[in-house]
Point group: C2
């Protein structure tokens, strides 16, 4: 039985098109290898996936809806996960995506090394999911003991002081090199736990269990870990890949609307920089995403992870291509740092930053005005900001952007759109006046 309100009629390729502008650093000619072991009976249990749902978009009445993509609907509470592989040679790892995956204990357990696990989480997530994760780690697995450290929640705690709490706990618990760290939470937890795992005893295994859209579509994949410095975001860290990423989409049940929207900023980013088809799909389905339609969300997560996995496989250490994932982030980081860590969510800052990057691209004559409008429109539909906070000044932007990781020999390189939708460049070769004009246009002083 088809359910018209949820059917997604677009024809979608499982491998996103990679449309790279010729401006790209051309070193990256390794063949793309995003294997997608798609499930044959994947399911998103509509009764469990979301807490709140607007009237008219309920899936309860449409449990036998026409399958969207490769998901079929059944009675079990757990799905066979969709698997997206991050191809990095002997450090390759799977991203598992699906509903009820935390109930599939063997999925997590097979990636645990050693007999001791340290779950790193925060005060918001611990009451919701810590017991469930401990169960998943220990059920039928009595040899494993699980410790945990519960950090304060928020970007403003992503610093050295909080990181030391993880080391303290690990050392007090006498964890050794054959232990496993598990990051249970959003991007802040994933980044800090990953960096702690990279540095503890010079490197131990770790697993990402992201619980926010932001972390599920972006930060948990690809091995970027780190902490903030008072003068700039993510300035201290490591490239360090996890054993696996386990995305149980049920964890989105408890995610506040504002956090959900924040994650969509990164989803939109993938469309803009390299996947026009995905952007067009988002334009047609933004209301479904905002209404937490489970199939639409599962698809958005999968396609985002495919894009991320492909980029990371081609350029793990960000020698060029990978930097494009930072569209809007240079402006965004300036907002986060200048306005105060945690005042705006990361995705909110990225959304405003994306509008600024797009504005600058237009001023440079690199895109036409229709793209500017489409970007602003879709961000507004995602209830995301399209301009920086009014208190941000040109000087605040410039001082933070000067210490951005993409500065090379003093030259700030930016990700800017260029050409038709889905194309971008990462370049330091742009007219400085366009940057100044953009900053002036978005700041009062």
């Amino acid at each position: 039985m088809a359910c018209a309100t949820n059917a997604i009629s677009l024809s979608l390729s499982s491998n996103p098109n990679s449309k790279l502008s010729s401006d790209f650093i051309p070193k990256l000619n390794k063949p793309v290898n995003v294997s997608l072991r798609a499930s044959t009976s994947a399911e998103l249990n509509p009764g469990r996936l979301f807490l709140s749902r607007p009237i008219g978009l309920s899936r309860r009445n449409c449990a036998n809806a026409t399958p969207v993509m490769d998901q079929s609907v059944g009675e079990r509470s757990s799905s066979v996960p969709t698997i997206v592989e991050v191809d990095l040679g002997n450090r390759s790892y799977p991203i598992y995506i699906g509903s009820g995956l935390l109930d599939q204990h063997e999925l997590l357990q097979k990636h645990v090394h050693g007999k001791k696990v340290l779950v790193v989480t925060n005060t918001t997530i611990a009451p919701l999911y810590l017991d469930k994760v401990v169960d998943a780690l220990t059920k039928g697995n009595p040899n494993v003991s699980v410790e945990n450290v519960i950090l304060p929640d928020g970007e403003k705690y992503k610093n050295m002081e909080t990181l030391m709490k993880v080391f303290d706990k690990a050392i007090e618990s006498r964890l050794d090199r054959r232990c496993t760290f598990v990051a249970l939470g959003g991007g802040v937890i994933g980044d800090m736990c990953g960096f702690a795992a990279a540095a503890f005893l010079r490197g131990v295994n770790f697993i990402q269990i992201p619980t926010t859209v932001m972390a599920q579509v972006d930060s948990s994949v690809g091995g970027k870990t780190g902490i903030n410095h008072p003068l700039g975001k993510n300035l201290i860290g490591a490239f360090y890949q996890p054993q696996c990423v386990l995305i149980d989409t049920d964890t989105l049940n408890t995610l506040p609307n504002r956090e959900l929207a924040s994650g969509l900023a990164e989803v939109i980013k993938y469309g803009l920089i390299r996947d026009a088809e995905f952007f067009e799909w988002q334009e047609k389905n933004m209301e479904k995403l905002m209404a937490r339609d489970p199939d639409a969300f599962a698809y958005a997560i999968k396609r985002s992870c495919e894009n991320k996995a492909e980029v990371v496989s081609l350029d793990e250490k960000e020698s060029g291509l990978r930097a494009t994932l930072n569209l809007g982030h240079t402006f965004g980081h300036a907002i986060e740092t200048g306005f105060g860590y945690g005042e705006w969510l990361h995705g909110e800052a990225v959304a405003a930053g994306t509008v600024m990057a797009v504005d600058m691209s237009y001023r440079l004559g690199w895109i036409d005005s229709s793209i500017v409008k489409r970007v602003t429109d879709i961000l507004q539909r995602a209830k995301l900001p399209t301009a920086p906070p009014k208190t941000m000044t040109v000087e605040m932007f410039k001082s933070v952007m000067a210490v951005d990781k993409k500065v090379a020999d003093g030259l700030l390189r930016l990700i800017l759109l260029k050409g038709p939708l889905g194309n971008c460049v990462f370049t330091g070769e742009y007219d400085r006046k366009a940057l100044d004009d953009t900053l002036s246009a978005f700041c009062k002083s």
Copy 2:
């Protein structure tokens, strides 16, 4: 003209023999590749190498001594460096060893990336060598600007608080990913600067300029970086390889005797674990080393670096073989941590730890008593301690050893001698009673 007091008559192979016990983890069957581009006219200027020299061993009277190994003596103040290559695929790098290398500006400059350099040093070394290093970096190289950060001197400052000073300086100086960190100092500076380079912007280039025997023969080579935690040594860090290691043996001129002896503990270690010929050479030449004979020292540094480079090339991340470089270090770290960081020098603690490891090996019946005696004798000749401080208790040893990085799934693995001189094992399979007996024998309570 031969100079009898300094001539070394042993015939020495340039590649140390690698004698591995069958107990070794057998994964490491990659071919050994220690290339040694030996100099043809290397020189150690005897008038410059050492500040103090005992009567009767002065080289001033024997400037034309018979060449030892591949060094010939001439009039120039700088030598053609001996080069030992650390073979790690695309992360391979050279170790330059010689007198006056800091005057050979091109040697350093060719390994600098980017336009900005941060020299990390300490309050002891800065007045002695900072200007010289800045000269070496900038002479004829006006595009490079050099910043520096001068840390307090000593193992007790090898912590997160001091590390943050490096990040602060790097960020305030607006260093970007194309900068180079230079570690100028002993092991503490090398370890901290290396970890800072590993974590700053998720990794920037760095160069090691070790100024102590300890750093020149051991810690600057192989990419182990890190800081201490109040509960244990080197528990937080990274494997991160430098661009090059530049060992200007002239920097030993200013090294106090106690520091010099401390470094010899690691030199002795190489002989014990894998290079019996080198140990025998040391037995014959310890007085020369203690008298700072330049040729003997140059040889000891070269042969130590060859041993270290070979082990690191075979097992960079310490899956087995590399752990053997930690002979005596597990007991030694317990002394350093339990007795207080900086009370004993690292090599002093390692010397006492080596005696304990050898004692335990003998109790297990793995070596004969002659080796025990030879180890104690040579350490005493090097003016190194052969027992832990009297205040150390069995409990202090056990509590620190429990968090040692070589613990795996709760089992403490140790490096112990086994078989003829030059053979050792890295194993958790030993009679616990032997460990208890050794601890009891060396502690009053």
